[in-house]
Amino acid sequence: MTDEGESGAALDPAAATRQYVTAGLAALGLKARDDELAVIEAVDAVYRPSIRALLDAELDLVVPEPRADMSGPPRTLDPS
């Protein structure tokens, strides 16, 4: 999920992921073994493009659906 280092210079995606994961887990007091890290990197390589695209998506104009009830359609189709 992390493509750049602190300086903004591009990192190898796998290296960036390892850095992000190990630091993030350490902040939570967690460790990951090498085999666990390998799985995380593989999973991240698959999902990173989709997560990145979602992060880049312009969704700030989406009016939230208040108290959404998934058992039925949205209360209003046109939020404006």
Binding site: D35, E36, P74
Partner: protein, 450 residues
């Protein structure tokens, strides 16, 4: 034909009319499980005394005396759910009367076994479980689909004629598709969810896996708390979404599904039109992010750290990964959900149903659960939610219907989606499709059950 080999509704009719002895049916089901289950590993626990007690106390309901199985996701009064895992993350569950248990009990059904599931429900393949993988009865070296792998394999292997699964990101529809069954993901909130380990869910539903739509209608009615009416659908307006949902599929899958779509259109004197869903490009990741993070409320770093090695490497890694997902991505996934729900609501004013393949390729090997698609080789767990996740994201019902077989003899399935509350229409359409196909695909049994 032995009573146990009949469809669910015919077993119920046979018992109700005294053509079948429910005690004999139960013993036959237990014996069938003992004899056939080792080849498919669909049932992970039986409890003959509790099953016999259920039968002895069973009311004369719509499933009186009929053996069924329940996914390892639901507590029973004599057994806590284990989620296909060697250890729980957090509070250990307790035995209890889950909603599906009560519904089945009150319908007179007899639970003969707990069915396997993909560990923690976190997979579309069913190849990981603390009990070992369930195996696809059509080819026991193939994935049965997950996470309701046990219900799918149990029904396809004719251990039982109906099973209750759960569907959070396609988990009823994948095993239905891989195992040649019919699987209904109900409208969110219509089927009982009492006692589920994720009470705050906005995506997961209980639902039936059976051979055909009529059996799903019967079992869904039990889970809904009221029978579902049947009607012959006419002039169905079917929407198809151009792009990867149809085009990035195994050519055999796309061809069989297009043939089925045309058969359904013709059978109902309907129409097929191209439509699009706003936000579609983010549906896959949004459904995964929301579905997979809803249940994190009970997760703490300490609990993750304490998981034993008996929990799979994949699960231990994924739990760590989920703790690090950016909050903004979850928030944006919720915005996508809003966009998609509004888009679907508008679409369903113009079409009655949407249709595309349930899964983009037939069941992959257990040893290598990846699929070959026009866009390349992908983990099945990445490709499948693209097809199924939208129903959970939006809350709408969806059904997987068998519509063919690949050159390797593996089932192929078409998915139909309808507006909120249209579960009956989906079942009607599925029955129309079965009729249009001469029931070829719903009546077929895999070799080990033939």
């Amino acid at each position: 034909m032995r009573a146990l080999d009949r469809p669910l509704r015919e077993q119920a009719e046979a018992v109700a009319s005294d053509d079948a002895d429910p005690a004999e049916l139960l013993e036959e089901a237990l014996a069938r499980i003992e004899e056939r289950n080792p080849r498919v590993n669909a049932i992970v626990a039986t409890f003959p005394e509790e099953s016999r007690r259920m039968l002895a106390e069973a009311p004369r309901g719509p499933l009186y005396g009929v053996p069924v199985a329940v996914k390892d996701e639901w507590p029973l009064p004599w057994r806590a759910e284990r989620l296909g895992a060697a250890a729980h993350v957090g509070r250990a569950p307790a035995p209890g009367e889950s909603g599906p248990y009560r519904a089945l009990r009150d319908a007179g059904a007899v639970i003969v076994g707990v069915a396997n599931m993909h560990e923690y429900g976190a997979g579309s393949t069913g190849h990981i479980s603390a009990y070992g993988p369930a195996r696809n009865p059509w080819d026991t070296e193939r994935c049965p689909g997950g996470s309701s792998n046990g219900p799918g394999a149990a029904v396809a292997a004719r251990l039982v004629a109906g099973a209750v699964g759960a569907d959070g990101v396609g988990s009823i529809r994948y095993p239905a598709a891989y195992c040649g069954l019919t699987g209904l993901k109900p409208t969110f909130g219509r089927s009982t969810m009492a006692g589920h380990h994720v009470p705050q869910t906005t995506t997961i539903v209980s639902g039936p896996l059976c051979r055909d739509a009529a059996d799903c209608r019967l079992l869904a009615g039990v889970l809904f708390g009221g029978a579902l009416d049947a009607a012959a659908p006419e002039q169905l307006r079917i929407g198809i979404v151009p792009g990867e949902l149809w085009e990035d599929c195994d050519p055999e899958v796309a061809a069989a599904c297009r043939g089925a779509l045309e058969a359904l259109r013709e059978a109902t004197s309907g129409t097929v039109a191209e439509v699009d869903i706003v936000g579609r490009e983010h549906v896959l990741i949004s459904s995964i992010l929301i579905g997979q993070t809803e249940e994190l409320a009970g997760v703490t770093p300490e609990r993750v750290a304490a998981l034993p090695d008996e929990v799979s490497l994949v699960a231990r890694a994924l739990l760590r990964y989920r703790l690090l997902l950016p909050a903004v991505a979850i928030s944006k996934a919720e915005a996508v959900r809003t966009v998609v729900r509004r888009s679907l609501a508008e679409l369903f004013e113009r079409v009655d149903l949407l249709a595309w393949p349930t899964v983009p390729a037939p069941a992959p090997p257990l040893e290598n659960p990846t699929v070959e698609l026009p866009s390349g080789t992908h983990p099945a767990d990445f490709a499948n939610p693209r097809q199924a996740g939208i129903a959970n994201l939006a809350g709408v019902p969806a059904i997987s219907v068998p519509v063919g077989r690949s050159g390797e003899g593996l089932p192929i399935a078409l998915q139909l989606l309808g507006p909120w509350g249209s579960d009956e229409l989906l079942l009607d359409a599925a029955e129309a499709l079965e009729g249009a196909n001469g029931r070829e695909w719903v009546d077929a049994a895999p070799p080990l059950a033939a």
